[in-house]
């Protein structure tokens, strides 16, 4: 694999990490498989695109996307999921229905055209790195992936909220029994997870563009990442993202015939023998 392809795989992995980390926070702590996560990504991208185009600021676009998607996450969790708490399958299917609605809403508002989030001037163009000419923006995505990882690591390991989340992933009942308002921790986590999806949408929207089926595609990748990496583990998501990102790029170059098989084959095998993924903990 050349440096070029390696960078491609890493950049894609970085984007996947941002999106999948949000997914695994929700899956890990709340045990909700949020199949609307892809739609949150897409909507975040569209909203970020509109804000960034109007204001001319990429950063504002990012903040707008995160805030808006956190709000939608709030609606999903407090408005809908609260009626099916504790019923795994119902939650999953409810989020799927929500995803359909969001996707159609996006189609109504932004239409079927493909949009690309405008890259700020300072991130345009490319540089010579390790002997290849590589777009600066993609390197930025790579950097963002690392920053998000570091931030989440700090959050989970050095803050009270993080400690509560980690404890909750292991045993939510115990945390509640020790007097903590677990509901609030759940809500904050859901909002954070959603916001990450929105951020991912903005970032991805600048180099992969936004279009009606982008939500399903990123969701499928996120599922693969989280299943391979394991429920509720940050390191797991990191490793999972790297594996999926690199395998995908490798697969496209060397085995274009096999498309998804390169990712789902190993994932199916892994799930069969290690149902909890590489770093997952039992529920």
């Amino acid at each position: 694999m050349s440096i070029f392809q390696l960078l491609n795989g890493l950049t894609f992995a970085a984007l996947l990490f941002v999106v999948a980390s949000g997914f695994t926070l929700i899956f890990g702590l709340l045990r909700i498989v949020n199949l609307a996560h892809g739609a949150l990504y897409l909507l975040g991208g569209y909203i970020g695109f509109s804000v960034a185009s109007r204001t001319g600021s990429f950063a504002l676009g990012g903040l707008g996307a995160m805030a808006a998607i956190a709000a939608i996450g709030f609606v999903l969790d407090q408005g809908l999921l609260r009626f099916v708490r504790g019923h795994e399958l119902r939650q999953v299917l409810l989020t799927l229905g929500f995803a359909f609605i969001l996707n159609d809403l996006a189609l109504v508002i932004w239409g079927g055209d493909s949009f690309t989030v405008p890259i700020p001037q300072v991130l345009r163009g490319g540089v010579r790195v390790f002997g290849v000419f590589y777009p600066i923006y993609r390197l930025f995505v790579l950097a963002m992936g690392i920053i998000v990882f570091a931030s989440l690591w700090a959050l989970l390991n050095h803050t009270r909220l993080g400690a509560l989340i980690r404890a909750g992933v292991d045993d939510a009942e115990m945390v509640e029994a020790s007097g903590v308002n677990i509901r609030r921790v759940f809500l904050v986590t859901f909002l954070l997870g959603s916001a990450l999806a929105g951020l991912g949408g903005l970032m991805g929207g600048a180099f992969l563009s936004l279009y009606p089926s982008a939500d399903a595609e990123i969701l499928v990748f996120s599922l693969a990442v989280v299943i391979i990496g394991g429920r509720g583990s940050l390191v797991g998501v990191g490793v999972g993202s790297l594996l999926v990102g690199l395998l995908n790029t490798l697969g496209q170059v060397m085995f274009p015939e096999l498309a998804y098989f390169v990712i789902f084959g190993p994932m199916a095998v892994l799930l069969a023998f290690r149902p909890l993924g590489l770093f997952g903990r039992a529920a």
């Binding site: 079927g112 055209d113 563009s209 009606p212 496209q252 170059v253």
Partner: protein, 419 residues
Amino acid sequence: MDRRHFLKNSAAAFAATSVGAAPWKGAFAQSGPIKIGLLAPLTGVVASGGKEMVEGVQFYLDQAKGEIAGRKVELVIEDDASNPDTALQKARRLVEQGNCHMLIGDLLANTGLAVANYVKGTGTPYFIPIIAADDLTQRQRIRNVIRVAGYSASAFTHPFGDWARKQGYKKIATISQDYTFGHEQCGGLAQVFTEGGGEIVQQFWHPLNTADFSPYLGQLADLKVDAIFAMETGADATRFIQQYASFGLKGKIPLLGAMNATDQSVIRTMGDECEGIIAAAHFAEGSDNPVTQKFTHDYEAKYGKIPSLYGFSMYSGIMWVAQAVEKLGGKVEDRDLLIDTVLKTELTGSPLGKTVKLDSYGNPIYDVQIRKVVERADGKYWNVPIATYPNVSQFWTYNPETYMKQPPYSRSFQGIKKT
């Protein structure tokens, strides 16, 4: 058929025969409207193209005041969801429940093939201005499927391959979406280019909806080629062109595109990444032909955007059918007669500014423009012709019988001449 439909149809038949003798008396309109079933992808991967298909048809009907040959037109629109199963289901609904006299539309080749397979059994006239699957007007021709105002995928890339050789390009690489439309476009180019002495260095095929072209761009950059031909449509085209520029290939290696790649539906949301890309097509919205200019101007005034291939093709397609129906005085119930008349009708007054007729296989013969993306005075980008190949048929300069003996273009057969 059951009683309800029998009565309705006999009434229509009676009305039709009683007016058929005097077709020029438009005042004696047929009973009931002409029902046209329009299938387009309003959701799914190519939703933006689908919407413009509907606009193109509606633009024509608005100009015609909702009538053809004095008879009212009822347009029934169904969404094929960019998906062949849905297309089939909707076609069934339009024909069996909606009693449409004819079907028109569909965008993706697989949806068109599914519907064509269905109308093969029902005999319903099906007009396909956008579906470009070569074989529907070649080896697997279905009589009631007619490509009015449409094109077969390889028809424009044949002359394009010739033009590329004339530019002095010796080596080309192609990258394309991996499905029939892509295989056929690349095949057309590859065959003529290699027969002219050129070499296809490598061909890349990627699945539809590839978000990340970086793996391919890396490989393309390393090849020593004179030009790259990119067969992309929709969102793939947008991404490819942007990533091509962001990886520094724009300006380094000339980019040739399929006309879908530089279509308005793709370039209108883009900036200077698309500038300078060259494609071959029958339609160039920036052409200085006065009829084309008027069409572009009026369309832009009405819909707020420069017309794309989809809008143009459907507009011309329904115009073609309307001209045939006018010759019949509005009588669409006789399917065989309708099909025969359409095959014999020449399209006049289309935005191409030139009369177009169908070859004996139901496929139009066009002047092919080699067109380039340039910036307009107001900062928007559009396609302007830089060269023309007159009267190009789907068979290029080959004898049709001989051409059809070679296999259809596919991934394994690209017409490449072995040296």
